[in-house]
Protein backbone atom coordinates (compact mmCIF):
# COMPACT_ATOMS: atom_id res chain seq x y z
CA UNK A 1 0.00 0.00 0.00
CA UNK A 2 1.65 3.20 -1.13
CA UNK A 3 2.07 5.70 1.67
CA UNK A 4 3.40 9.08 0.61
CA UNK A 5 4.55 10.10 4.09
CA UNK A 6 6.64 7.08 5.08
CA UNK A 7 9.79 5.25 4.11
CA UNK A 8 9.08 1.54 3.94
CA UNK A 9 11.22 -1.54 3.38
CA UNK A 10 9.47 -4.78 2.40
CA UNK A 11 11.42 -7.97 2.83
CA UNK A 12 14.50 -6.02 1.83
CA UNK A 13 17.95 -7.53 1.28
CA UNK A 14 20.93 -5.24 0.77
CA UNK A 15 24.54 -5.88 -0.14
CA UNK A 16 26.91 -5.97 -3.08
CA UNK A 17 26.70 -9.66 -4.05
CA UNK A 18 23.58 -11.68 -4.48
CA UNK A 19 24.74 -14.61 -2.35
CA UNK A 20 26.34 -12.46 0.28
CA UNK A 21 23.63 -10.16 1.63
CA UNK A 22 24.69 -7.87 4.44
CA UNK A 23 21.14 -7.41 5.69
CA UNK A 24 18.60 -9.98 4.55
CA UNK A 25 14.81 -9.91 4.41
CA UNK A 26 14.36 -6.92 6.70
CA UNK A 27 11.13 -4.94 6.90
CA UNK A 28 10.55 -1.55 8.46
CA UNK A 29 8.41 1.54 8.31
CA UNK A 30 9.80 4.94 9.20
CA UNK A 31 7.08 7.53 9.71
CA UNK A 32 7.09 11.28 9.15
CA UNK A 33 8.73 13.21 11.99
CA UNK A 34 10.71 10.21 13.25
CA UNK A 35 14.43 10.12 13.90
CA UNK A 36 15.84 6.66 13.46
CA UNK A 37 19.31 5.68 14.59
CA UNK A 38 21.07 2.54 13.45
CA UNK A 39 24.13 1.18 15.14
CA UNK A 40 26.10 -2.03 14.95
CA UNK A 41 29.58 -3.33 14.24
CA UNK A 42 31.63 -2.09 11.28
CA UNK A 43 30.98 -3.82 7.97
CA UNK A 44 27.60 -5.11 9.07
CA UNK A 45 25.65 -3.24 6.37
CA UNK A 46 24.50 0.03 7.95
CA UNK A 47 26.03 2.27 5.27
CA UNK A 48 24.86 -0.13 2.58
CA UNK A 49 21.31 0.23 3.86
CA UNK A 50 21.59 4.03 3.74
CA UNK A 51 22.96 3.85 0.18
CA UNK A 52 20.06 1.64 -0.81
CA UNK A 53 17.56 4.08 0.67
CA UNK A 54 19.36 6.92 -1.12
CA UNK A 55 18.82 5.12 -4.42
CA UNK A 56 22.55 4.61 -4.99
CA UNK A 57 22.31 0.82 -4.78
CA UNK A 58 19.57 -1.46 -5.99
CA UNK A 59 18.14 -3.81 -3.37
CA UNK A 60 19.26 -7.43 -3.85
CA UNK A 61 15.67 -8.43 -3.22
CA UNK A 62 12.53 -6.92 -1.76
CA UNK A 63 11.32 -3.38 -2.19
CA UNK A 64 11.94 0.11 -0.93
CA UNK A 65 9.22 2.74 -0.89
CA UNK A 66 10.30 6.35 -0.45
CA UNK A 67 7.15 8.40 0.08
CA UNK A 68 5.14 6.01 -2.03
CA UNK A 69 7.65 5.67 -4.87
CA UNK A 70 10.49 3.26 -5.51
CA UNK A 71 13.00 6.15 -5.58
CA UNK A 72 13.17 9.57 -3.97
CA UNK A 73 12.19 12.47 -6.23
CA UNK A 74 14.56 15.37 -6.94
CA UNK A 75 15.56 17.12 -3.74
CA UNK A 76 13.58 14.80 -1.49
CA UNK A 77 16.60 13.01 -0.07
CA UNK A 78 19.47 14.72 1.70
CA UNK A 79 22.47 12.45 2.05
CA UNK A 80 25.50 13.06 4.25
CA UNK A 81 27.97 10.27 3.50
CA UNK A 82 30.62 9.25 5.99
CA UNK A 83 33.25 11.06 3.92
CA UNK A 84 30.81 13.96 3.48
CA UNK A 85 30.96 14.21 -0.32
CA UNK A 86 31.92 17.88 -0.35
CA UNK A 87 33.66 19.45 -3.32
CA UNK A 88 37.08 20.12 -1.91
CA UNK A 89 38.14 22.79 -4.38
CA UNK A 90 34.90 24.74 -4.25
CA UNK A 91 33.85 27.25 -1.60
CA UNK A 92 31.54 26.70 1.35
CA UNK A 93 28.93 28.79 -0.50
CA UNK A 94 29.13 26.66 -3.67
CA UNK A 95 28.77 23.42 -1.71
CA UNK A 96 25.77 24.59 0.28
CA UNK A 97 24.24 26.14 -2.85
CA UNK A 98 24.31 22.68 -4.45
CA UNK A 99 21.96 21.49 -1.73
CA UNK A 100 19.68 24.50 -2.14
CA UNK A 101 19.53 24.00 -5.91
CA UNK A 102 18.68 20.33 -5.56
CA UNK A 103 15.71 21.23 -3.41
CA UNK A 104 14.45 24.43 -4.96
CA UNK A 105 15.07 24.97 -8.64
CA UNK A 106 14.58 23.07 -11.78
CA UNK A 107 17.60 21.46 -13.38
CA UNK A 108 17.64 24.03 -16.16
CA UNK A 109 17.21 27.13 -14.01
CA UNK A 110 20.18 27.34 -11.69
CA UNK A 111 19.89 30.99 -10.65
CA UNK A 112 17.37 31.73 -7.98
CA UNK A 113 17.24 34.33 -5.23
CA UNK A 114 15.45 31.84 -2.99
CA UNK A 115 18.42 29.50 -3.30
CA UNK A 116 20.76 32.31 -2.30
CA UNK A 117 18.71 33.13 0.80
CA UNK A 118 18.47 29.47 1.82
CA UNK A 119 22.21 29.02 1.30
CA UNK A 120 23.17 32.01 3.43
CA UNK A 121 20.69 31.02 6.15
CA UNK A 122 22.00 27.46 6.28
CA UNK A 123 25.62 28.61 6.48
CA UNK A 124 24.73 31.04 9.25
CA UNK A 125 22.88 28.34 11.17
CA UNK A 126 26.03 26.22 11.44
CA UNK A 127 28.15 29.24 12.36
CA UNK A 128 30.30 29.44 9.25
CA UNK A 129 29.31 32.85 7.85
CA UNK A 130 32.93 34.03 8.12
CA UNK A 131 34.06 31.16 5.87
CA UNK A 132 31.63 31.78 3.04
CA UNK A 133 34.24 31.91 0.25
CA UNK A 134 36.78 29.56 1.80
CA UNK A 135 37.50 26.39 -0.18
CA UNK A 136 36.54 23.23 1.66
CA UNK A 137 40.09 21.88 1.58
CA UNK A 138 41.17 24.71 3.85
CA UNK A 139 38.63 23.88 6.57
CA UNK A 140 39.14 21.58 9.54
CA UNK A 141 37.39 18.20 9.69
CA UNK A 142 34.76 19.54 12.07
CA UNK A 143 34.05 22.61 9.94
CA UNK A 144 33.65 20.38 6.89
CA UNK A 145 31.02 18.36 8.76
CA UNK A 146 29.16 21.56 9.50
CA UNK A 147 29.20 22.45 5.80
CA UNK A 148 27.74 19.04 4.96
CA UNK A 149 24.96 19.64 7.49
CA UNK A 150 24.35 23.14 6.06
CA UNK A 151 24.09 21.66 2.56
CA UNK A 152 21.33 19.35 3.78
CA UNK A 153 19.55 22.09 5.70
CA UNK A 154 19.58 24.36 2.62
CA UNK A 155 18.10 21.53 0.58
CA UNK A 156 15.21 21.05 3.02
CA UNK A 157 14.71 17.38 2.18
CA UNK A 158 11.89 15.16 3.41
CA UNK A 159 14.31 12.34 4.21
CA UNK A 160 17.77 12.88 5.69
CA UNK A 161 20.25 10.01 5.51
CA UNK A 162 23.30 10.74 7.64
CA UNK A 163 26.27 8.47 8.11
CA UNK A 164 28.06 9.35 11.36
CA UNK A 165 27.61 13.01 10.65
CA UNK A 166 28.51 14.15 14.16
CA UNK A 167 31.97 12.62 14.30
CA UNK A 168 34.97 14.93 14.82
CA UNK A 169 32.87 17.75 16.33
CA UNK A 170 33.69 19.32 19.67
CA UNK A 171 31.03 19.08 22.36
CA UNK A 172 29.69 22.61 21.95
CA UNK A 173 29.48 22.54 18.15
CA UNK A 174 28.09 19.02 18.27
CA UNK A 175 25.19 20.08 20.47
CA UNK A 176 24.49 23.17 18.36
CA UNK A 177 24.56 21.26 15.05
CA UNK A 178 22.53 18.39 16.48
CA UNK A 179 19.90 20.81 17.74
CA UNK A 180 19.66 22.52 14.32
CA UNK A 181 19.08 19.22 12.58
CA UNK A 182 16.60 17.99 15.21
CA UNK A 183 14.70 21.27 15.02
CA UNK A 184 14.51 21.01 11.25
CA UNK A 185 13.22 17.42 11.39
CA UNK A 186 10.57 18.32 13.97
CA UNK A 187 9.45 21.51 12.23
CA UNK A 188 9.24 20.07 8.75
CA UNK A 189 7.96 16.67 9.81
CA UNK A 190 10.81 15.04 7.89
CA UNK A 191 12.34 11.62 8.51
CA UNK A 192 15.93 11.22 9.56
CA UNK A 193 17.85 7.97 9.40
CA UNK A 194 21.28 8.16 10.91
CA UNK A 195 24.08 5.70 11.44
CA UNK A 196 25.58 6.41 14.83
CA UNK A 197 28.21 4.41 16.68
CA UNK A 198 27.88 6.34 19.93
CA UNK A 199 25.09 4.49 21.69
CA UNK A 200 24.43 7.19 24.25
CA UNK A 201 24.18 9.91 21.61
CA UNK A 202 21.96 7.69 19.48
CA UNK A 203 19.47 7.20 22.32
CA UNK A 204 19.60 10.89 23.10
CA UNK A 205 18.76 11.91 19.51
CA UNK A 206 16.60 9.18 18.14
CA UNK A 207 12.98 8.23 18.59
CA UNK A 208 13.76 4.70 17.50
CA UNK A 209 17.04 2.84 17.67
CA UNK A 210 17.87 -0.18 15.55
CA UNK A 211 20.90 -2.37 15.76
CA UNK A 212 22.22 -4.35 12.84
CA UNK A 213 23.38 -7.85 13.74
CA UNK A 214 23.37 -11.28 12.11
CA UNK A 215 22.00 -9.91 8.82
CA UNK A 216 18.97 -8.46 10.60
CA UNK A 217 17.83 -5.07 11.75
CA UNK A 218 16.55 -5.32 15.32
CA UNK A 219 14.64 -2.50 16.97
CA UNK A 220 15.95 -2.06 20.50
CA UNK A 221 14.60 1.35 21.44
CA UNK A 222 11.98 2.31 22.42
CA UNK A 223 11.79 -0.99 24.29
CA UNK A 224 8.45 -2.69 24.05
CA UNK A 225 7.80 -2.09 27.76
CA UNK A 226 8.43 1.61 27.33
CA UNK A 227 6.06 1.72 24.39
CA UNK A 228 3.40 -0.06 26.41
CA UNK A 229 3.91 2.31 29.32
Amino acid sequence: MADDTSVIGHDLSVGYERNNELLANISFEFKAGEIIAINGASGIGKTTLLRTLAGLLNPLSGEVEIFGKSKGARGEIGYIPQRLGLIRHASVYHNVMLGAKAGHTSEWFPFSSKCKVLTIEAIESVGLSHKLRTPIRKLSGGQQRRVAVARTLAQKPRLILADEFLAELDEETLNAVMQKVLDYVRESNAIMVLVEHDFERATQMADRLFTAEDNKLVEIFPMEDEVNE
Binding site: L56, Y79, G85, H89, H94, L98
Partner: protein
Protein backbone atom coordinates in the same frame (compact mmCIF):
# COMPACT_ATOMS: atom_id res chain seq x y z
CA UNK B 1 38.17 -20.43 17.10
CA UNK B 2 40.93 -23.06 17.26
CA UNK B 3 39.84 -24.49 13.93
CA UNK B 4 40.08 -21.04 12.40
CA UNK B 5 43.60 -20.54 13.72
CA UNK B 6 44.71 -23.97 12.54
CA UNK B 7 43.34 -23.36 9.04
CA UNK B 8 45.15 -20.03 8.74
CA UNK B 9 48.38 -21.36 10.17
CA UNK B 10 48.30 -24.02 7.48
CA UNK B 11 47.68 -21.42 4.79
CA UNK B 12 50.42 -19.09 5.91
CA UNK B 13 53.10 -21.73 6.45
CA UNK B 14 55.99 -20.57 4.25
CA UNK B 15 57.80 -22.96 1.96
CA UNK B 16 61.37 -22.03 0.98
CA UNK B 17 60.50 -21.90 -2.73
CA UNK B 18 57.47 -19.68 -2.14
CA UNK B 19 59.53 -17.47 0.12
CA UNK B 20 62.17 -16.93 -2.58
CA UNK B 21 59.45 -16.25 -5.15
CA UNK B 22 57.80 -13.57 -2.97
CA UNK B 23 61.11 -11.88 -2.29
CA UNK B 24 62.37 -11.87 -5.86
CA UNK B 25 59.26 -11.86 -8.00
CA UNK B 26 59.44 -8.21 -9.11
CA UNK B 27 63.16 -8.13 -9.98
CA UNK B 28 62.59 -11.45 -11.80
CA UNK B 29 59.73 -9.95 -13.84
CA UNK B 30 61.87 -6.94 -14.83
CA UNK B 31 64.84 -9.13 -15.77
CA UNK B 32 62.53 -11.38 -17.81
CA UNK B 33 61.05 -8.34 -19.63
CA UNK B 34 64.55 -6.97 -20.31
CA UNK B 35 65.73 -10.29 -21.75
CA UNK B 36 62.57 -10.54 -23.86
CA UNK B 37 63.13 -7.01 -25.22
CA UNK B 38 66.72 -7.90 -26.18
CA UNK B 39 65.53 -11.05 -28.01
CA UNK B 40 62.83 -9.12 -29.88
CA UNK B 41 65.38 -6.44 -30.86
CA UNK B 42 67.78 -9.14 -32.04
CA UNK B 43 65.16 -10.69 -34.31
CA UNK B 44 63.98 -7.27 -35.58
CA UNK B 45 67.46 -6.04 -36.56
CA UNK B 46 68.33 -9.52 -37.84
CA UNK B 47 71.33 -9.80 -35.58
CA UNK B 48 73.13 -6.79 -37.02
CA UNK B 49 74.38 -5.27 -33.75
CA UNK B 50 77.34 -3.72 -35.51
CA UNK B 51 75.11 -0.80 -36.61
CA UNK B 52 74.48 0.07 -32.98
CA UNK B 53 78.17 0.02 -32.10
CA UNK B 54 79.00 2.17 -35.14
CA UNK B 55 76.38 4.80 -34.31
CA UNK B 56 78.39 6.96 -31.83
CA UNK B 57 81.08 7.43 -34.47
CA UNK B 58 78.50 8.43 -37.07
CA UNK B 59 76.88 10.92 -34.71
CA UNK B 60 80.28 12.38 -33.87
CA UNK B 61 81.11 12.88 -37.55
CA UNK B 62 77.70 14.37 -38.34
CA UNK B 63 77.89 16.71 -35.35
CA UNK B 64 81.42 17.93 -36.18
CA UNK B 65 80.96 18.33 -39.91
CA UNK B 66 77.34 19.49 -40.27
CA UNK B 67 75.84 20.73 -36.99
CA UNK B 68 78.58 22.54 -35.13
CA UNK B 69 78.82 25.49 -34.83
CA UNK B 70 75.14 26.43 -35.07
CA UNK B 71 74.48 29.21 -37.57
CA UNK B 72 72.98 32.04 -35.50
CA UNK B 73 72.09 34.05 -38.59
CA UNK B 74 68.58 32.65 -38.00
CA UNK B 75 68.29 35.24 -35.24
CA UNK B 76 69.15 38.08 -37.61
CA UNK B 77 66.39 40.09 -39.30
CA UNK B 78 65.24 38.85 -42.67
CA UNK B 79 66.37 40.78 -45.78
CA UNK B 80 62.74 41.32 -46.80
CA UNK B 81 60.48 42.85 -45.53
CA UNK B 82 62.82 45.49 -44.12
CA UNK B 83 62.85 45.46 -40.32
CA UNK B 84 61.69 48.76 -38.85
CA UNK B 85 62.18 47.84 -35.21
CA UNK B 86 64.80 49.62 -33.07
CA UNK B 87 68.22 47.95 -32.84
CA UNK B 88 67.59 46.07 -29.62
CA UNK B 89 64.37 44.59 -31.06
CA UNK B 90 65.86 43.61 -34.42
CA UNK B 91 65.76 39.94 -33.49
CA UNK B 92 61.94 40.10 -33.60
CA UNK B 93 62.22 40.27 -37.42
CA UNK B 94 64.23 37.04 -37.52
CA UNK B 95 62.81 33.80 -38.87
CA UNK B 96 63.47 32.08 -35.55
CA UNK B 97 61.40 34.65 -33.61
CA UNK B 98 58.60 34.79 -36.18
CA UNK B 99 58.48 30.99 -36.32
CA UNK B 100 58.45 30.54 -32.55
CA UNK B 101 55.72 33.14 -32.05
CA UNK B 102 53.59 31.59 -34.78
CA UNK B 103 54.04 28.11 -33.28
CA UNK B 104 53.15 29.46 -29.83
CA UNK B 105 50.00 31.08 -31.26
CA UNK B 106 48.98 27.88 -33.03
CA UNK B 107 49.59 25.85 -29.85
CA UNK B 108 47.66 28.33 -27.68
CA UNK B 109 44.60 28.59 -29.92
CA UNK B 110 44.53 24.83 -30.54
CA UNK B 111 44.75 24.11 -26.81
CA UNK B 112 41.87 26.46 -25.97
CA UNK B 113 39.59 25.21 -28.77
CA UNK B 114 40.61 21.61 -28.11
CA UNK B 115 39.85 21.94 -24.40
CA UNK B 116 36.43 23.51 -24.98
CA UNK B 117 35.45 20.79 -27.46
CA UNK B 118 36.92 17.88 -25.54
CA UNK B 119 35.36 18.59 -22.11
CA UNK B 120 31.73 17.88 -23.07
CA UNK B 121 32.85 14.73 -24.91
CA UNK B 122 34.94 13.68 -21.90
CA UNK B 123 31.86 14.07 -19.69
CA UNK B 124 30.00 11.70 -21.97
CA UNK B 125 32.96 9.30 -22.03
CA UNK B 126 33.38 9.09 -18.23
CA UNK B 127 32.01 5.81 -16.93
CA UNK B 128 30.99 7.28 -13.57
CA UNK B 129 28.75 9.83 -15.29
CA UNK B 130 27.35 8.15 -18.37
CA UNK B 131 25.98 4.68 -19.07
CA UNK B 132 28.12 2.31 -21.20
CA UNK B 133 25.86 2.90 -24.20
CA UNK B 134 27.02 6.54 -24.20
CA UNK B 135 30.52 6.29 -22.76
CA UNK B 136 31.85 3.65 -25.18
CA UNK B 137 30.90 5.52 -28.38
CA UNK B 138 32.28 8.75 -26.87
CA UNK B 139 35.56 6.99 -26.06
CA UNK B 140 35.72 5.55 -29.56
CA UNK B 141 35.13 9.04 -30.94
CA UNK B 142 38.05 10.46 -28.91
CA UNK B 143 40.25 7.50 -29.82
CA UNK B 144 39.55 8.17 -33.51
CA UNK B 145 40.93 11.72 -33.19
CA UNK B 146 43.91 10.44 -31.27
CA UNK B 147 44.76 7.53 -33.51
CA UNK B 148 45.98 9.79 -36.32
CA UNK B 149 49.19 11.57 -35.32
CA UNK B 150 49.05 15.36 -35.53
CA UNK B 151 51.36 15.36 -38.54
CA UNK B 152 48.84 13.33 -40.57
CA UNK B 153 46.03 15.67 -39.52
CA UNK B 154 48.29 18.52 -40.65
CA UNK B 155 48.79 16.93 -44.09
CA UNK B 156 45.04 16.48 -44.39
CA UNK B 157 44.31 20.10 -43.51
CA UNK B 158 47.10 21.46 -45.70
CA UNK B 159 45.31 19.69 -48.57
CA UNK B 160 41.95 21.09 -47.42
CA UNK B 161 42.76 24.71 -46.54
CA UNK B 162 46.21 25.18 -48.05
CA UNK B 163 49.60 25.95 -46.52
CA UNK B 164 49.84 28.10 -43.41
CA UNK B 165 48.89 28.38 -39.75
CA UNK B 166 45.15 27.74 -40.33
CA UNK B 167 45.94 24.14 -41.26
CA UNK B 168 48.18 23.93 -38.20
CA UNK B 169 45.47 25.21 -35.86
CA UNK B 170 42.88 22.79 -37.22
CA UNK B 171 45.23 19.81 -37.08
CA UNK B 172 46.38 20.62 -33.57
CA UNK B 173 42.83 21.24 -32.35
CA UNK B 174 41.62 17.85 -33.52
CA UNK B 175 44.59 16.08 -32.03
CA UNK B 176 44.12 18.02 -28.77
CA UNK B 177 40.46 16.93 -28.62
CA UNK B 178 41.52 13.26 -28.80
CA UNK B 179 44.45 13.49 -26.44
CA UNK B 180 43.11 15.95 -23.88
CA UNK B 181 39.69 14.27 -23.94
CA UNK B 182 41.28 11.05 -22.75
CA UNK B 183 43.18 12.80 -19.96
CA UNK B 184 40.00 14.64 -18.97
CA UNK B 185 37.73 11.62 -18.75
CA UNK B 186 40.37 9.85 -16.67
CA UNK B 187 40.47 12.86 -14.33
CA UNK B 188 36.65 12.87 -14.16
CA UNK B 189 36.61 9.17 -13.35
CA UNK B 190 39.08 9.92 -10.57
CA UNK B 191 36.59 12.19 -8.77
CA UNK B 192 35.88 10.57 -5.41
CA UNK B 193 32.68 8.56 -5.07
CA UNK B 194 31.14 10.33 -2.04
CA UNK B 195 30.85 13.60 -3.99
CA UNK B 196 28.95 11.88 -6.77
CA UNK B 197 26.90 9.83 -4.32
CA UNK B 198 25.77 12.93 -2.45
CA UNK B 199 24.89 14.64 -5.74
CA UNK B 200 22.96 11.60 -7.04
CA UNK B 201 21.09 11.15 -3.78
CA UNK B 202 20.12 14.84 -3.76
CA UNK B 203 18.69 14.35 -7.22
CA UNK B 204 20.96 16.55 -9.31
CA UNK B 205 20.64 16.04 -13.04
CA UNK B 206 23.48 15.20 -15.42
CA UNK B 207 24.08 18.84 -16.28
CA UNK B 208 24.32 20.01 -12.66
CA UNK B 209 26.48 17.07 -11.69
CA UNK B 210 28.84 17.68 -14.60
CA UNK B 211 29.29 21.41 -14.17
CA UNK B 212 28.46 21.92 -10.48
CA UNK B 213 30.24 18.92 -8.99
CA UNK B 214 32.69 17.36 -11.45
CA UNK B 215 34.05 20.57 -12.97
CA UNK B 216 35.11 22.28 -9.71
CA UNK B 217 36.28 19.02 -8.17
CA UNK B 218 38.56 18.12 -11.08
CA UNK B 219 39.46 21.72 -12.02
CA UNK B 220 43.04 21.48 -10.76
CA UNK B 221 43.68 18.40 -12.84
CA UNK B 222 41.99 19.90 -15.88
CA UNK B 223 44.05 23.08 -15.69
CA UNK B 224 47.23 21.13 -15.17
CA UNK B 225 46.42 18.95 -18.17
CA UNK B 226 45.62 21.95 -20.36
CA UNK B 227 49.00 23.50 -19.52
CA UNK B 228 50.72 20.22 -20.27
CA UNK B 229 48.83 20.05 -23.57
CA UNK B 230 49.96 23.55 -24.47
CA UNK B 231 53.57 22.54 -23.93
CA UNK B 232 52.98 19.37 -25.93
CA UNK B 233 51.32 21.30 -28.75
CA UNK B 234 54.24 23.69 -28.95
CA UNK B 235 56.72 20.83 -29.29
CA UNK B 236 54.52 19.18 -31.92
CA UNK B 237 53.91 22.51 -33.61
CA UNK B 238 57.51 22.31 -34.74
CA UNK B 239 56.78 18.94 -36.37
CA UNK B 240 53.58 19.86 -38.16
CA UNK B 241 55.27 22.96 -39.55
CA UNK B 242 57.45 20.59 -41.57
CA UNK B 243 54.47 19.62 -43.74
CA UNK B 244 53.61 23.27 -44.34
CA UNK B 245 51.19 23.91 -41.50
CA UNK B 246 52.99 27.06 -40.35
CA UNK B 247 55.29 27.86 -37.46
CA UNK B 248 58.97 27.28 -36.92
CA UNK B 249 58.77 23.84 -38.52
CA UNK B 250 58.32 25.55 -41.88
CA UNK B 251 61.80 27.13 -41.60
CA UNK B 252 63.33 23.93 -40.26
CA UNK B 253 62.00 22.07 -43.28
CA UNK B 254 63.28 24.79 -45.59
CA UNK B 255 66.87 24.48 -44.34
CA UNK B 256 66.69 20.67 -44.13
CA UNK B 257 65.95 20.63 -47.86
CA UNK B 258 69.05 22.76 -48.50
CA UNK B 259 71.06 20.50 -46.16
CA UNK B 260 71.95 23.53 -43.99
CA UNK B 261 72.05 21.52 -40.79
CA UNK B 262 73.92 24.21 -38.83
CA UNK B 263 70.89 26.52 -39.22
CA UNK B 264 68.55 23.67 -38.32
CA UNK B 265 70.65 23.09 -35.21
CA UNK B 266 70.28 26.77 -34.25
CA UNK B 267 66.48 26.44 -34.56
CA UNK B 268 66.55 23.29 -32.43
CA UNK B 269 68.47 25.16 -29.71
CA UNK B 270 65.92 28.01 -29.85
CA UNK B 271 63.07 25.48 -29.52
CA UNK B 272 64.85 23.82 -26.61
CA UNK B 273 65.16 27.16 -24.80
CA UNK B 274 61.48 28.00 -25.38
CA UNK B 275 60.47 24.54 -24.11
CA UNK B 276 62.56 25.11 -20.97
CA UNK B 277 60.85 28.47 -20.41
CA UNK B 278 57.40 26.95 -21.00
CA UNK B 279 58.23 24.13 -18.61
CA UNK B 280 59.17 26.68 -15.98
CA UNK B 281 56.05 28.80 -16.54
CA UNK B 282 53.79 25.76 -16.44
CA UNK B 283 55.48 24.61 -13.23
CA UNK B 284 54.78 27.98 -11.61
CA UNK B 285 51.17 28.12 -12.89
CA UNK B 286 50.44 24.54 -11.85
CA UNK B 287 51.87 25.18 -8.39
CA UNK B 288 49.15 27.83 -7.93
CA UNK B 289 46.49 25.14 -8.23
CA UNK B 290 48.13 22.57 -6.01
CA UNK B 291 46.42 21.57 -2.78
CA UNK B 292 49.29 21.37 -0.44
CA UNK B 293 52.11 23.74 -1.11
CA UNK B 294 55.32 22.47 0.39
CA UNK B 295 57.17 24.97 2.53
CA UNK B 296 60.94 25.24 2.14
CA UNK B 297 60.88 24.48 -1.56
CA UNK B 298 64.03 25.50 -3.42
CA UNK B 299 63.68 28.73 -5.44
CA UNK B 300 61.94 28.25 -8.79
CA UNK B 301 64.99 29.07 -10.90
CA UNK B 302 67.14 26.31 -9.42
CA UNK B 303 65.06 23.69 -11.24
CA UNK B 304 66.43 25.01 -14.51
CA UNK B 305 70.05 24.28 -13.75
CA UNK B 306 70.21 21.70 -10.98
CA UNK B 307 68.33 18.48 -10.22
CA UNK B 308 65.77 18.96 -7.44
CA UNK B 309 67.53 16.53 -5.06
CA UNK B 310 70.82 18.40 -5.34
CA UNK B 311 69.28 21.83 -4.68
CA UNK B 312 67.51 20.48 -1.59
CA UNK B 313 70.83 19.15 -0.27
CA UNK B 314 72.54 22.48 -0.93
CA UNK B 315 69.73 24.35 0.84
CA UNK B 316 69.99 22.05 3.86
CA UNK B 317 73.71 22.74 4.08
CA UNK B 318 73.04 26.47 4.00
CA UNK B 319 70.59 26.14 6.90
Amino acid sequence: MNDYREDHELEEKPTPLLDIWYQWRWPAVFVALGVLAIFVTHSTIEGNWQKLFDSPRNVQTFFRESLWPPDWSVLEPQAYPVCEEPDFLQFTCSTAWIGVIETLKIAFVATIFGMLISYPIALLAAENLSPPSVSYPARAFLAAFRSLPSILWAILFVIMVGLGPMAGIMAMTLYTVGYLGKLQYEAIEGVAKPQLDASRAMGHGWFERSFGVILPESANNLISQAIFMFEYNFRHGTVIGIVGAGGIGYYINLYLEFLQYDKVFAYVIVIFIVVLILDLVSKIVRSMFKDDKQPNMPPWWTGLFLPAGLTKKLLKKKD
